[in-house]
C-alpha cells in the first residue's frame, strides 16, 4: 500500500488536442478512450447483427449471400466480445479502480496507455478483412478447424489481430492486478474493497491465465495452415477436437471474464438504491472466487456432441451444474440486499434489476444446456443463441449500461437526463426480450444457428425476433444521445451524486478532477463500502 504522496511529472509538457489523448497516462483519460472505443465497436457490431436479423426476417435468401452471412456472424461475435464488452469493462476499471481504492493512478500508467492504443490497430486489421477479395473469416468466432483453415487470405490477418487483442488484454489485466494489490490506500484492506474491485481482481487473473492459451490455440491454427504442422490434422496424428479443447479452455473462462465485472457493478448499484449495505459481502467474494475456479474445469460443456468418453461428459456436466450454486448465492444476496430497503428506481437501478432478472433467465437456460442428453438436442441451435444473448446482452451489456448511468455524473459532473434514461431502459428491456425470447422456441423446435435460411415453419418467430432486433438496435442511438447530452451539460452533480452511495469514489468532487488521491485517503469501516456486521 502506498502511504506517500504522488509525483505527477506534468509541469513541463501539456500536449493539446488529439495528441493529448494519444500520449496520455492518466487513468481517467484512458478509461474514457476505452469506453468510447467500446461504444463505437458496439455500434459496428450492432450493424452487423442487423444484417443478420434482416436476412433472417423471412425464409429464403434475400439480402446477402450465405458466405457473407457467415462473415457477419463471425465478425459480429469477434467485434462484440473483444471490441465492445471487454474494452467497456476495462474502461470502467480504468476509471473506477483508482477512485475506489484511493490510488493516484494505475500502477503502470505507460503500459496502460499501450494496452488501449493497441486496440484501434488490432480492430483496423480485423475489420479490414471485410474489404479483402475473399472477404472476412466466415468460420464462426470459434475458428474451428478444419473449416477455419479453408478460408481465404483474411485468415492470417484475423489471427494476428487476435494476437494483438490478446497482448492488449494481458497488459491491461496485469496493470489492474498490480494496481489492486499494490496501490490501495492505507486501511483499504482486501476485505474492505468494494465488490467491483474484487470481481475485477479475479477477472484480471482469469485474463492473464487464459488469453495466452487462446494465443497458443490460434498460433497452432496458423502453423497448421502455413507451416505444415498437424496439430489439428488426423492424418498426421493430430485431432481437430484438440483445437476445441484448447479453445474452450480459454473460451469458458472468457465468458466469465465478461460477466464477473458485471456482477461487481450490480453489487455496487443495488446497495446504493436500496440504501442498505450489500448483504453477504464475504460470501460474494467467495462466490466470485469459486466461479472463477470452476470456470477452468467446465470447458467441455461446449463440446458434448463432438464425441467424448462418457466419463468425461459426466464430469463436465456435473462440474458445470455446480457453477449454478455460487451464481445462485449471488442472486440471493442481491435480492436480500433489496429486502426491506428503501428502494428508488433511477436508471442505473433499473438496469441492475433488469440484469438480475434476465441474467437469471440466461443462467437457467445455461443449466439446461449443461445437461448432456438435453444438449444433444440443443447444441448449435438457436436455443444456445438465446442462452448466450441473455447472459451477454441482458447480462453483461445491461450491467455496463447500468455502470455508465451510475458513474456518468461522476465523470462529467452533470446528471444525465433521467427521463430519457428510463425510456432507454424500458425500450431496451421490452425489445431485447422480443428479440431473444422467441429464439428459445426456435432452438427447441430445431432451427440451427449460423444458417442464413430456414424452414418455413420458423417464419413467425424469426420475424418477431427481427423486429425486436431492429427496435432494440435503433434504441441504442438514444443511449448515445443521452451520453452526449450529459457530457455537454445538465444539472450539476454533487460529489456523492446518489443519496445512498458509499465508497471513496463519492468523496471526490464531480466531475472527478484530473488527479485524485495524490495524498492517499485513510480508510476505515465508515468509508468501507461493505461490512456485514454493520448492515
Amino acid at each position: 500500500m502506498s502511504e506517500a504522496t504522488t509525483h505527477h511529472d506534468d509541469h513541463h509538457d501539456h500536449p493539446k488536442g488529439l495528441w493529448r489523448w494519444v500520449v496520455t497516462t492518466n487513468h481517467k483519460d484512458i478509461g474514457t478512450l476505452y469506453l468510447l472505443f467500446s461504444l463505437v465497436m458496439f455500434l459496428i457490431g450492432g450493424a452487423m447483427a442487423l444484417v443478420i436479423r434482416a436476412e433472417l426476417f423471412a425464409p429464403g435468401l434475400q439480402l446477402v449471400n450465405p458466405d457473407f452471412f457467415n462473415q457477419m456472424t463471425t465478425m459480429h461475435a469477434l467485434v462484440m466480445i473483444f471490441g465492445a464488452v471487454m474494452p467497456a469493462f476495462v474502461g470502467l476499471a480504468n476509471w473506477m479502480v483508482p477512485l475506489m481504492i484511493g490510488a493516484p493512478d494505475m500502477a503502470l500508467p505507460r503500459m496502460n496507455n499501450w494496452s488501449f492504443w493497441i486496440l484501434p490497430f488490432a480492430f483496423t486489421i480485423l475489420l479490414s478483412t471485410l474489404f479483402m477479395p475473399t472477404g472476412a473469416p466466415a468460420s464462426g468466432w470459434t475458428l474451428y478447424p478444419p473449416l477455419s483453415l479453408q478460408g481465404g487470405n483474411s485468415f492470417a490477418f484475423v489471427i494476428f489481430a487476435i494476437h494483438l487483442m490478446g497482448i492488449s488484454s494481458i497488459m491491461g489485466a496485469i496493470n489492474i492486478v498490480a494496481t489492486i494489490l499494490n496501490m490501495r490506500a492505507p486501511g483499504m484492506t482486501l476485505l474492505r474493497m468494494p465488490l467491483f474491485i474484487w470481481t475485477w481482481l479475479i477477472t484480471a487473473f482469469l485474463l492473464i491465465a487464459v488469453m495466452p492459451v487462446l494465443a497458443g490455440a490460434v498460433t497452432m491454427l496458423l502453423t497448421d495452415r502455413f507451416f505444415g504442422t498437424s496439430f489439428f490434422n488426423a492424418a498426421g496424428g493430430g485431432d481437430p477436437v484438440l483445437y476445441q479443447h484448447i479453445f474452450w479452455f480459454f473460451g469458458h473462462p472468457e465468458v466469465y471474464i465478461m460477466i464477473l465485472p458485471a456482477f461487481g457493478i450490480v453489487s455496487e448499484i443495488i446497495p446504493t438504491f436500496s440504501r442498505k449495505r450489500l448483504f453477504g459481502y464475504t460470501s460474494m467474494v467467495y462466490a466470485t472466487a469459486s466461479i472463477a475456479f470452476l470456470s477452468f474445469i467446465v470447458w467441455a460443456h461446449h463440446m458434448f456432441t463432438v464425441g467424448m468418453p462418457l466419463g468425461a461428459m459426466l464430469f463436465f456436466m456435473y462440474a458445470t451444474m455446480v457453477i449454478a450454486v455460487p451464481t445462485g448465492v449471488k442472486i440471493f444476496n442481491w435480492i436480500a440486499t433489496m429486502w426491506r430497503g428503501s428502494m428508488t428506481f433511477e436508471t442505473p437501478m433499473l438496469f441492475a434489476l433488469g440484469f438480475v432478472v434476465m441474467f437469471t433467465i440466461g443462467g437457467l437456460s445455461g443449466v439446461m444446456l449443461a445437461i448432456v442428453p438435453a444438449d444433444f438436442q440443443y447444441h448449435d441451435s438457436y436455443f444456445v443463441v438465446a442462452h448466450f444473448h441473455y447472459v451477454l446482452v441482458t447480462g453483461s451489456v445491461f450491467a455496463i449500461m447500468a455502470g455508465v448511468y451510475y458513474w456518468l455524473p461522476k465523470w462529467t459532473g452533470h446528471m444525465y437526463d433521467e427521463r430519457l434514461g428510463k425510456i432507454h431502459f424500458w425500450w431496451s428491456t421490452v425489445w431485447v426480450n422480443v428479440l431473444f425470447f422467441p429464439q428459445h422456441y426456435l432452438g427447441l423446435a430445431g432451427m440451427p444457428r449460423r444458417i442464413p435460411d430456414y424452414a418455413v415453419q420458423f417464419t413467425e418467430f424469426n420475424m418477431i425476433s427481427s423486429i425486436g432486433g431492429f427496435m432494440f438496435g435503433f434504441g441504442q442511438l438514444l443511449f448515445c444521445y443521452i451520453i452526449w447530452k450529459c457530457a455537454r451539460g445538465g444539472e450539476p452533480a454533487s460529489a456523492r451524486v446518489w443519496e445512498g452511495s458509499r465508497g471513496l469514489e463519492w468523496t471526490v468532487p464531480s466531475p472527478a478532477p484530473h488527479h485524485t488521491f495524490d495524498t492517499p485517503p485513510v480508510v476505515d469501516d465508515s468509508v468501507a463500502v461493505h461490512k456485514d456486521e454493520l448492515t
Binding site: 509525483h7 484501434p120 496485469i174 493430430g238
Partner: protein, 286 residues
Amino acid sequence: MAQGSYYVPATAKWPIVGSVGLFIMMIGAANWLNGNPIGPWLTLIGSVVVIFMTFGWFAEVIRESEGGLYSSAVDTSFRQGMIWFIFSEVMFFAAFFGALFYARMFAVPWLGGEGTGAMTNELLWPGFEAHWPTHGPAELGGDFQTIPAFDLPLLNTLILLTSGVTITLAHWALKRGQRTALVLWMWSTIALGLLFLSIQFYEYVHAYRDLGLTLGSGIYGSTFFMLTGFHGLHVILGTIMLIVITLRCMFGHFTAKNHFGFEAVAWYWHFVDVVWLGLFIFVYVI
C-alpha cells in the same frame, strides 16, 4: 524530490510507436504468409520500429530509475508486473504442453482404435497402430528418427541448470557489492545461454538434415519443434536481457539493495530454465 512518492509520468510517447510498429509488423507478416512480396519488407520495418521502441522505452525507464524518481511502491508495481507477465508466459507454454499430452494420451491411441476409436481406425485408418513418436496414419513428412534424450539434450539440461546457478552466484555477489564477481558470473551465464542456443541450433540442423525430423513430421514434429522452438525464442530473448543487464551492472546501475531490473531478468531466466526441464522430461525422455 520524488523520494517516497508514486511517480506518474505525464505523457508516454513510446506506446504509440510500439502500436504502429506492431501494426506494420502484423500486416507485413500476414501479407508474407499470403505470398505478397511486400510482406517481408513490412515485417522488417515493423520489427525495427518495435525494437526501437523497446530500447527507447527501457532507456527512459532506466533514466528515471537512475534519476531517483522511483519509490518502493513503484518498485513493487514493477515486481507485480513481471510476476504476472511470467505467469502469462507459463500459460502460453501450457497450451502447447496440453496439445502434446492430448495427442499422446488421446488422439493417437484413438486413431489406433482404442476406446471409442475402433470404427475410426477400422474405416478411416485401417492398419494404423498407435505408437509414439508418430507422424500419424498418413505418415506425413516421411520417415524420421528422434533425438535421443541422454545425449546433447542432457548436456543442454546441465548447461541451463548451471546457468541458473551462475546467475544466483551473480545475485549474491551483487548483494555483497562485489562488482567484479558479479560481472564475471553474469558473463558466464550469458556464455552458457549462448552455448545452449548453439547446441540447440546444431540439433535442429541435424534433425532436418540427417534425421528427417521436420516441422511437417506429423504430430511429433509439430509438438517437438513448436515447444522447443518457442522455448528457444525465449532463451534468445532471455540472453539479450542478460546482456543488457550485465552492461548495466558494469555501468554500476545497481546497488546492493536496489536492483529490481536485475532480479526481473533473473526470474525470467529461471522461468526459461524450468520450462526446459518440462521439455526435457516430456518431450525428450518420456
